[in-house]
Point group: D3
Chain length 322, copies 6
């Protein structure tokens, strides 16, 4: 039980939710040089970078808006009654500093940032940023050994090369991650794939490597709980990374994203799959592709923040039991 007032978020009964300098979930802001940094167990991090975007940009603005909306989060999960801030010392570690006009430098900066986080024994929960952000994070989190991967997404992001030269973009991160040995393809499950397709090359790559894809029709037919039971089976007991692309959710529920695909899960199902992670050893997670310029009202970010909170609950329970 975390009793140190320093690590308790501000309550909406004391300060209205719209007031105050916004940090993630009203947690303390603890940058690397803060004296209490070594005590943090779960670090909420912003990755304001969308240099890998091939279509509509904007996720660089995600962390700012997600932080803003996150001040509406209260202390306990009304569905599972998990109270994450009771279970683990959580903090807002601030943002990675990207280099918007230099893709390779940005990836190097991100990897270096997460190396420090991982070295401190902190489990990172990241607010992206586009999906390419997951690659440098995985390079840190999976430095020691490959991890399992659960990916909620409408696209496989297993493509190879775009526009003749581009090997690193938000359509390719997990192909690179498998190639680099960061992800164990046998413990890798993709959920929610849909929309029109360029071709079958990404699906062939998945099949050749033993990656399990659960397309949306199967998801709608089986339901979220059954699908998640299989996903937990695939990921198994080992360390697992979770990547949640907001475009997994139907674009009506999450319009603020760059490459929406219609016919996806609703907001209840979006929550259900996150709750379905319970019990996994989630060593890191991210919520990516929230693009505020395409949803000025913040509804997408509000859903995204709730998904981050659900993943945080799963991570906090795990940290607490260790």
């Amino acid at each position: 039980m975390v009793t140190d007032a320093f690590f308790r978020p501000v309550s909406g009964f004391d300060l209205p939710r719209f007031a105050g300098v916004p940090s993630f979930m009203r947690l303390p802001h603890v940058p690397f040089d803060h004296p209490r940094f070594p005590e943090v167990q779960i670090g909420l991090i912003g990755a304001p970078w969308d240099g890998g975007t091939t279509n509509r940009p904007g996720p660089r603005h995600g962390p700012r808006q997600l932080r803003d909306l996150s001040t509406m989060i209260r202390a306990a999960n009304g569905a599972t009654w998990v109270a994450p801030f009771d279970l683990a010392r959580c903090a807002d570690l601030g943002d990675v500093a990207p280099n918007p006009a230099d893709l390779m430098d940005s990836m190097a900066r991100m990897e270096a940032f997460y190396d420090r986080v991982v070295a401190a024994g902190i489990r990172p929960l990241t607010a992206g940023g586009d999906h390419l952000c997951s690659l440098p994070i995985l390079r840190s989190v999976a430095k020691a050994r490959p991890v399992g991967l659960i990916q909620f997404d409408s696209h496989t992001d297993l493509n190879d090369i775009y526009f003749g030269t581009s090997r690193y973009n938000h359509g390719t991160p997990f192909r690179r991650a498998v190639e680099e040995g960061l992800v164990d393809p046998k413990r890798y499950c993709l959920i929610g794939i849909r929309g029109t397709a360029y071709g079958r090359d990404d699906w062939d790559f998945a099949a050749a490597n033993g990656i399990r894809i659960i397309p949306i029709a199967e998801f709608h037919a089986r339901g979220a709980e059954d699908v998640m039971a299989e996903a937990r089976e695939i990921a198994g007991a080992g360390p697992t990374y979770v990547t949640y692309d907001i475009d997994f959710v139907d674009p009506t529920f999450a319009p603020g994203t760059g490459t929406p695909e219609v016919g996806g899960p609703n907001s209840w199902q979006a929550l259900q799959v996150a709750r379905g992670l319970r019990g996994l050893d989630v060593v890191g997670a991210d919520l990516v592709e929230v693009s505020p310029p395409f949803d000025a009202s913040g509804g997408t970010a509000w859903l995204g923040v709730n998904l981050m909170f659900e993943m945080l609950c799963v991570m906090a329970e795990r940290v607490a039991v260790r």
Copy 2:
């Protein structure tokens, strides 16, 4: 059968829906001093007041926008074929006059207004306004005896005190109503509760008083019809008030509200629960927390107006059979 042309709304076959001074559902505007006021059976009323809002304000603008969108309503219910304007003499009674910068005076003004309505034997159907509006209405409607209460909501609104001093705000009205003896807690059912929680105090209050809470997970598991069968059972044959907070509905379907909670019912379910009130002795009803500044397009108000129409159909059938 209402045959008096005065009480018939204007048809969209005669005057386009976008034309004309907007009154609720194109009914006659009948203020207290109108000669036909004594004939009214069901009064549609605007309560443009949101003084009890602790988070994002705006419902004070609800009646204006709800009235505007309501001119798109036609004469008959396409699902149940109930034609409320055939069954009861309905009218737009205008708006309560609030005092935006004086909370206690506003509550007193509201109670006085509804006292006149109730005294005239008119059943009020109110367009809010924030949820604190329900308290002064209940003080009038339940003046003679406690009423049953069915509350559609994502929050319990059973909290006690905010910010140290605030006992009357939109998070506390039904705790006050129970304390004041306006609502019979044994005949009180809350449906749709979800989202993160401050703690368990409001749930404890409900449990201690015998109030039935149906949280959203149970709602999704059982379905709207089964849940409403139980709700009708709880409310029973006695006089019952219905309060419909638009944030009961998932915020994707109803973004125009101040404290949205993701993962709620969709618009079809939103209609289903209102239709599920059929048979109850609904002595008054409200639709609250529609906040136009957060939904300029009016989609939330359009859904809200449809919900008002469904409640009106239930009320009109009851009035007709008396």
Copy 3:
């Protein structure tokens, strides 16, 4: 198998989706005087006309926005793996030229345009425009013999006269089409009807002519697949026209339309019913009532374009097997 590079759409792997002069699905623009016009098998056509609109106008802007969003469509259907551009020679035939301030002249212009299309043996897939557009199209497509009709809609559009004089508007096209012998009422099925009603006159017309109406409650109870099995049965093996009013879909998923009705199908169901057309001899189809001024973000058009793509897949399979 279409191998001619001329008829292949541009790939998003070669040119970013946001680049280039926008044609429907990045197909070649082939107006009547283009040398390759005679080779076209399926023609995508814009009908930028909303002269029949009795409520909120705007569908005249539909083709422009639908064309814009359509550049996000890729080559293959990720659900059925149909690749329409492999199966049929498809092209963007451009827009019909309406006369915005002359209703009868606009209808005559439309009929003349489609006569040329039909005469060339091209199956038209139209992006409206309001629902009155379907009438002049049917006058061309059904010139030789009545056709079956499957209509996805929240309104029957079987009304008779508005405002005393108006026989041709977007609430009457299919009554006129039945009266003119363009549609075989025994092979005519309406799906999704809901909302408040003016009265029962349109339902009586349907009943008197043997038209099958599947209201939304039945749709929700039976599910999309079962309903579509019946619809295919009704339409049978003969030539069939499909008209898809975007207001069939719940307005939360498709806000950009003039006369929204709450409580409709979600985006997944919207796709399912289009896929359920598979096997029918679809001689023409349209997607109407997309109104960009009421959905600046383009989400409605993006769903609409996906529905056009699903209908195109069904049409292309049919063309390929001939």
Copy 4:
């Protein structure tokens, strides 16, 4: 001095501006059959019709939004200290009932409506509607004799025929009005013309008839006061109609309109020209082309309402001195 409480608008000190059924400027709603109709001196009228629109539609929604925003108007003009409701008995006469899908019938209905207004000795102040609305109004107002005309506009609206057949649309009303002898071209002044041009035909028509055009460059060079001095000179002492197309104003200040032209007057200049009408015998006036779908926030309507108020002040001073 008007002392009759019936004709006094509700004050914002008594009822908040967002409350109440909205009538123009919170004046009493006095339809033709109202007992006090004969006492009205200046009638505010909505003309929700845009059937003459050749480009982006929407002004049919103008009266609803203008009425809504008009409840923010207070009792006195803060610049001139004219208090129009003290000077003349003003009322909201409601809306003309158009026929959205029948252009000629709509024009006939409008003319008949205004004939009743003019016959009652009421000076009409109209909220459009598109610019074609001015033609049937002029047919009533100028039935007895031609009137002078002051037109604030970015377009001449003196074109002849569009799309081969269209003689009556929002680009032609004043050519028709001159041809029909409703406007004395020697007493006709156009102010603010700008933007790209189809050609010179409309300017040639003006020149041939002695109509004075003050293009925007001249307006910017001379200033509003000097230009209005000339305009008053042209219109002279006789009865004069004023037509104010909101697209006279720069589209940044008035984005909610269908055919914006950049580089126009700002909001201060927009007010100045209306105040510059002072002293003219304004027998009727209109404010047209406010298109709410292109300005959901209502800023355009808010400016429009202020312009109506300025014209009302001029008209009321004239009525008072008679």
Copy 5:
């Protein structure tokens, strides 16, 4: 010259403007209990409270959005080349904690907060909040002696009582401040007054007390520089408070506010008047009535932040010369 790195804002050359936890102008966040609090010379403070709003609410959200946009501010004033962070130790002191449903308690909390700021010798620069916020601030800042006041506004805010009981709202603060002896009416100048008027009571109060009002027509006629020369003359050499209501600016330039009045200054003039404060002994300043719900894009807040920066430059020059 401030050389301590702690008090230097983060540069956009080092960290992109969209990255990082947002504090005002990227200054350090220094709450009361921070060890460096005693060193602060100018404190930027958020006052997220709009309990005094009689019309459209929303300014409670102002500080959040102003802080967000303020990260786009760079180190030096490009017009005057003043570099405020070189001249004074500036910090973000965080937000006052209001009580949204208790007006009197909120005013007491604000006064207590500012008492601590003033006691520490810090000059406050506040981001509101509605205009009632200025009253509790003045109670602190003018505790020792009356101050001069320069008010940029479209309304006098010198009214007396609203709705029968409301003496404290955003239309009355400066009448109260004069009555309470906080402001020396002879050193008080209002600039920009316009719009329709309830009556003349507020002007009479000004005249009776020797308050100088410069209405908008005079402002437009004389120009910003001349007007500001007079304003400086009126305020004189003594301690002066500056209150900048964003509705001083034309609503096209600043739509995000609750009671807009058309025909105001443009953005260049808005800057000019702030620069015209140079040389005054500004002991405190505020920028109020920015209402994000009415300007989701943030343009109003962006202008507001620039105005805060201009006032900061004036204050920093004064602090530096002391």
Copy 6:
């Protein structure tokens, strides 16, 4: 006089402005492989690339929206009566194909594209894209000899390095262009500079190279015509490139851009400066930084298209007289 119908844009009298596949100004679409490409004299080109953006991205979507809005342009300039399509053979050459995730490859692709344009003797008029686009264009246009440069902008874009490594971004193009000898600094004039500053390094670079900067205060003091007389003097008789950053204009008039600076020119002044280019030998021009995600309504693009038309008029007059 261009009489060839092929090069005449479609008239809005024949086809409504909202109809048809949108090309720039409704000109023929003439890609490199089109048989009439060699006849083109002025080529309108889209550069959908914003890889150099350090702050808010979006200009990659500019060409699509500018093309869309450009169909509202008519044949003649209503201010100068220049009819550019009579004077020069103009065509839409389509879009450059960028590589969104590879900055250096994108610059190479752009240079190669413009080399083909310049080699064909075509003067390019480009719709960006961000301001880095101007660098590869200048590398083509100024390949043979340095050009004069007139830059309308709120920023100098003369910075050196961002984020430690970034030499090529939208804040540096003209420093690079001067360093590369593409621009003659003595014939280079910047107009409109304003906003907060990082420091003085860019101004020092300008001073050291003899570049003339006209800051916004000077612009407002002297007026557009006087400033442009000086600019024409500086550029002289030699070949001159014009680059128009939409953020030159006040962000209220042009909100759709990534780095707005308040206090700029209004729309009339924006047009005036473009008209002030008349007489110069404009060998190429661009309009950059229009960012549709930040202005969904298209008002910014509409102004941008008008500015492109004004520059086209200047270019066409020059081509005609050769």
